[in-house]
């Protein structure tokens, strides 16, 4: 199973890379790679739970945490591809906020989760955010470049955040507390905006 996943990832990378480079040769539209990469970063509703997810993974120890480095970007890419064929579901903004609150809360209580639950959160979040970013593409956007940019930034942020959080957790007793406090603040943001969502819908 593990082998197959890795092979699949390698095949995907192999299949995508030359297309991107080819586009560079034909016309300089690699810019869409970067618009895809920047798009999630402009939305705190995505960046905050990404970092919370990485910290949550770090609390599970490196042996389990490393799986989200593989799973999350794949889910993100799958969500992006799905957005090409399916409309964004109506519950998407609400689900996004719930994910902010849930990941934040899980970090705040330093929850020990089975690997399956951790990966399920990563998959749901990846699919949702992938679809949300994908829906932001316009007719002229180069889809392959945009989606690879989005996947690349998802991989980059999750990897850096997970690695940093794991490294940070080694050492003094205050360090897990600091991360838990951070998770608690993320949860607070999620809960308050969820409350706002009851009054009027929040754009996702």
């Amino acid at each position: 199973m593990k082998r197959w996943l890795r092979l699949l990832a390698a095949a995907a990378a192999l299949a995508l890379a030359p297309t991107a480079a080819h586009a560079h040769l034909v016309d300089t539209r690699l810019g869409d790679f970067y618009s895809g990469a920047l798009h999630p970063l402009t939305d705190l509703q995505q960046v905050l739970p990404w970092i919370a997810l990485a910290v949550l993974a770090a609390f599970q120890g490196a042996q389990r945490a490393r799986w989200i480095i593989l799973v999350f970007p794949l889910a993100l890419a799958a969500g992006g591809v799905a957005s090409l064929y399916l409309p964004l579901p109506a519950f998407a903004p609400l689900l996004g906020l719930v994910l902010v609150a849930v990941t934040g809360l899980a970090v705040a209580v330093a929850a020990r989760l089975p690997l399956g639950v951790l990966l399920a959160i990563a998959v749901v979040m990846g699919l949702l955010h992938g679809a949300q970013n994908g829906a932001a593409m316009v007719v002229t956007t180069d889809r392959v470049l945009f989606l690879s940019g989005m996947t690349a930034i998802g991989y980059g942020v999750i990897t850096l955040a997970t690695g940093s959080a794991i490294a940070f957790l080694h050492g003094a007793a205050w360090r897990p507390i600091a991360l838990r406090a951070g998770g608690s603040w993320v949860a607070a943001v999620g809960i308050m905006v969820l409350g706002l969502n009851l009054v009027r819908p929040v754009a996702g």
Partner: protein, 337 residues
Amino acid sequence: MSGTANATATGSPGARRRFAALGSLAAALLCLVVALLVPASQARAHEATMAVITLREIAPGRFIGQWTMPPVDMTLQPLFPPHCKWEPPELVCGARGLTGQLSFMGLGSKQSVATIRVVPHEGPMEVYTVSAAKPTVMAARDPGTDLAMWRDLAETYVNLGIDHILRGIDHLLFVLGLIWLVKGGWKLVKTITAFTVGHSISLAAATFGLVGVPERPLNAAIALSIVFVGVEIVKLQRGEVGLTARYPWTVAFAFGLLHGLGFATALTALGIPQATLPIALLFFNVGVEIGQLSFVAVVLALLWAHRQAQALLPRWGAAMPAYVIGSVASYWFLLRI
């Protein structure tokens, strides 16, 4: 997908592999030498999707504008300072002349660079380049001592340099290969510096027209240089001491020369007037360095994060990145010849 790299890398006897690596290095250098022999005038053809509009001053403050290189995206429109009246093809600016902010409407992914050339009644032509990264420029009459003008020039060309290297996936792939080969520490600093020195020299030489490069063989040679790095990584992982492992900065310098010629095509395509060329070149190079160092830093940070998370490739897959780099680059090589 072509299997050139796989073939050269996996062809089992050690001697053949060494030959293959040397062969691709030699071929890359041969392309370079051939490229250097071709006169500068052939360097004109380029791939950039840029648009150029030329404004000729027919009376003081009155210009006639014409696309000398029409935009791909027809919605692209120049934007002039508020005191100017633009009724294509006529631009009337009055006594103040064409000074102030110049910009383009509709710059984006399709059209990333657009240039306004101003041919005044007297004096030399002025060129203003607007890119997606630097959406406005200030037009001034006398760029010689104007500090704002200098800052403007710096902003434009530093951004252009960053833009160019970050979009140049082949350059980035080569740098990635170097990092993979040299691992880290002082050796990496020296190698990257050598690469930088190399491409700065050839970028300058090509920009001033000392050497001319036809695009296709140059791009093919660049692709080949990446194949070479991929082969070297595989050799290193098998415990053989390759050329790059032995003389990392010599190899990096040599390939730097090659890649610098590649950077130059982006700059020469803009048609910068001779007077501002040295300074534009300097800022462009600074931008390229900023982009390159950022890339190196991100790659090192990611490698560090992978080690922290113990998310490393298993032994059976350790050579995979090298094969990927090699295969992709061979594919480009075949596309480009």
